[in-house]
Amino acid sequence: MTPPPPSPALELAARVRSGEESAAAVVERHLRAVDELDGELHAFVTVLHDEARRRAAEIDADAAAGRDPGPLAGVPVALKDNLCTRGVRTTCASRILEGWRPPYDATVVARLRAAGAVVVGKTNLDEFAMGSSTENSAFGPTRNPHDPGRVPGGSSGGSAAAVAAGMAPLALGSDTGGSIRQPAALCGVVGMKPTYGTVSRYGLVAFASSLDQIGPFATSVADATALFEVIGGHDPLDSTCLERPAPRLLASLDEGVDGLSVGVVDELVEGTDPAVAARVAEAAEALARAGATVERCAVPEVRHGLPAYYLLAPAEASSNLARYDGVRYGLRVEAATVEAMNGATRAAGFGPEVKRRIMLGTYALSAGYYDAYYGQAQKTRTLIIEAFARAYERFDVLLGATTPTTAFAIGAKVDDPWAMYLSDVCTVPSNLAGHPAVTVPFGDDGAGLPVGVQVLAPALGEGVLLRSAAVVEAAAPARTPPRVRAV
C-alpha cells in the first residue's frame, strides 16, 4: 500500500485561498511547463498566456480584497478544443472551423471561471472527437508523455497528456464512447464520464448527442471529484440536463467500500492484454480487502456494445455535422450553387475519419437500411441497458478494464478503422446506457506503460462510483512518472 497520490488541484486552491501562493505564480509555473514541454508533446492547439495571466491577476486582486476567489482559485485548467470559449478560437481540430471564434462560452467554461479556475489553453483532439488516438487532428498528433513514440489515446488525448505531464493539474474532455476514459488510462491519469445529463452540454460541439458527456481529467480521484462538483448541476440552456443541484461528493469520498458488492465483469476483462487483466484482478482484491464482497459476473450483452455504438454514433454525427455547410461560420469553398459550395466545402474541411463516419452514419440512416442497421442498433442499446439493470440488482458497482491494451505506437492502427475502434470496446457500454464510469491508474504493463482500471455504476451512482475509485487508487502500485513531465 502506497500513500494516495497528491491532489495538486485541491492543494493549489488551498494555497491560493490562504494567500500562501499567488494565482499569478501558480499560473506562471504551469505556462512555463507548457512552453518547455509542448513542443514535444503537442497537447495544446492554443495556449492562452495573456488571458491566463490576466485572470490570475484578477483572482489575486479578489483574494487581496477579501472576496472569495472560489473553490478552484488559481488552478490551471486545460480545455478540450471542442468546448466553446467566447472570442477564443475553437477548432475541434478541424479545418472546417478555420477562423471561428465562438460568440459564447460553454456552460462548463463559465462555471470554471466562476470557481476561480484559470483556463491555460485548448487541447488537441481527434477531429470532432472522432477517434481513439488523437492522430485524426488537422494539427497533427499529440504524443504520450510516458513514451512520445506512442499515442495518448483519444479523442481527448491533448487533455490527458496535459494532465499527465503536469502542464495543468485539471482538464476537461468529452466522452462519447470512451474519449475521456481511454486516453486517461493510456496516459496514467484519472478520467471520469459522469451520468448523462449531470453536466450541461451547452457549448460542447455536438458529435453524438445522445452519448456525449463532458467530464474531468485529474491526477487523483479527489481532484476529479472537485472538478465534477464545479461543472455539474442543472443548466436551463441544455434541455437534456437533469433538474438536479450540483453534486456534493468530496465530503463522502473516504467512506470506503465496506459492505458494498462489486461485480467483476467477464466481458470487460476477457480479451484484454494479460497485464491489463492482472491489474484488474489486483484492483478487485484490493476492494475485497477493504471490505467489499467481490464476485465475477457475466454481462454478455455488452459484447454487442461496439457494433451498436459504431452505427449509432456515426448516425447521430452525420446529422449533427450537417451544420457545417459553409454558410454561417468557418470554411467556405466558393462554387456556383449552394449545393456545389456545400460539397466542396465539406470535402476540403473534413479529414478522412470524419468523412468515413459521416458516410457510415448516412448509409445506416438511408432508405432501405434504416431498420437493419440504425433500428437494430437502437434495440441492441435497450438490451444492454436491461442487462446492466439486472447486474445492478446484485452489485453496487462493476469493475473491468478501461482499455484492452496499453498505449500503442503512433501510426499502428491508422489504416484499419475497426482495429482502432476496438480500443473503445470496454468503454462504449456506459455511454450507450448513459451511466457514469471512471478510470483509475493502476500499475503498469511491465514495460512502464500505465494501465487503467475502470469502475462502473448505475445512473446517478457517482457517490458509490467515486468512493470505490478512491479505494482502488489507494491500493494502486506506485506510479511510474512520465518520461516527459514538468519538474
Partner: protein, 103 residues
C-alpha cells in the same frame, strides 16, 4: 447473418456521399466503399440478436417536451454572429444562388 459482409459498390458510396454533401474523389469512393463494408460486416452480428418486442432506445433519459418560462432574455449579438460568416450582405448570410435561374 453474422459475418455476412454487405457488398458496397463504388456507386453505392457515391450515392451516400451525395446524400452527405461531400465531394469525394474516385480514390476516396473506392476506399470508403471497402472500409464501410468492413465496418458493416461487424455490425451485421446485431442482425442475429433476437429483438422481437424490444423497444428501441434513442436517448438514455426519459425526457419529453422540456419547456422554459416564456420570458424575454438577451440573445447573441447579431454583429458578433455575422462577423463569423464567410460572406454577408445587408446583415444577412450571403450564399450562392439556390434556384436554377440566371443571377
Amino acid at each position: 447473418m453474422s459475418g455476412d459482409a454487405p457488398r458496397l459498390t463504388r456507386q453505392d458510396a457515391a450515392y451516400v456521399a451525395r446524400l452527405a454533401r461531400i465531394d469525394l474523389t474516385e480514390d476516396e469512393l473506392e476506399l470508403y466503399a471497402a472500409q464501410l463494408a468492413s465496418v458493416l460486416a461487424h455490425a451485421a452480428e446485431l442482425g442475429a440478436l433476437d429483438t422481437e418486442g424490444v423497444e428501441p432506445t434513442a436517448h438514455p433519459l426519459p425526457l419529453c417536451n422540456v419547456l422554459r418560462a416564456d420570458e424575454e432574455r438577451p440573445c447573441l449579438d447579431r454583429h458578433e454572429v455575422l462577423a463569423q460568416a464567410p460572406a454577408v450582405e445587408d446583415h444577412r448570410f450571403r450564399v450562392p444562388r439556390i434556384l436554377g435561374e440566371a443571377p
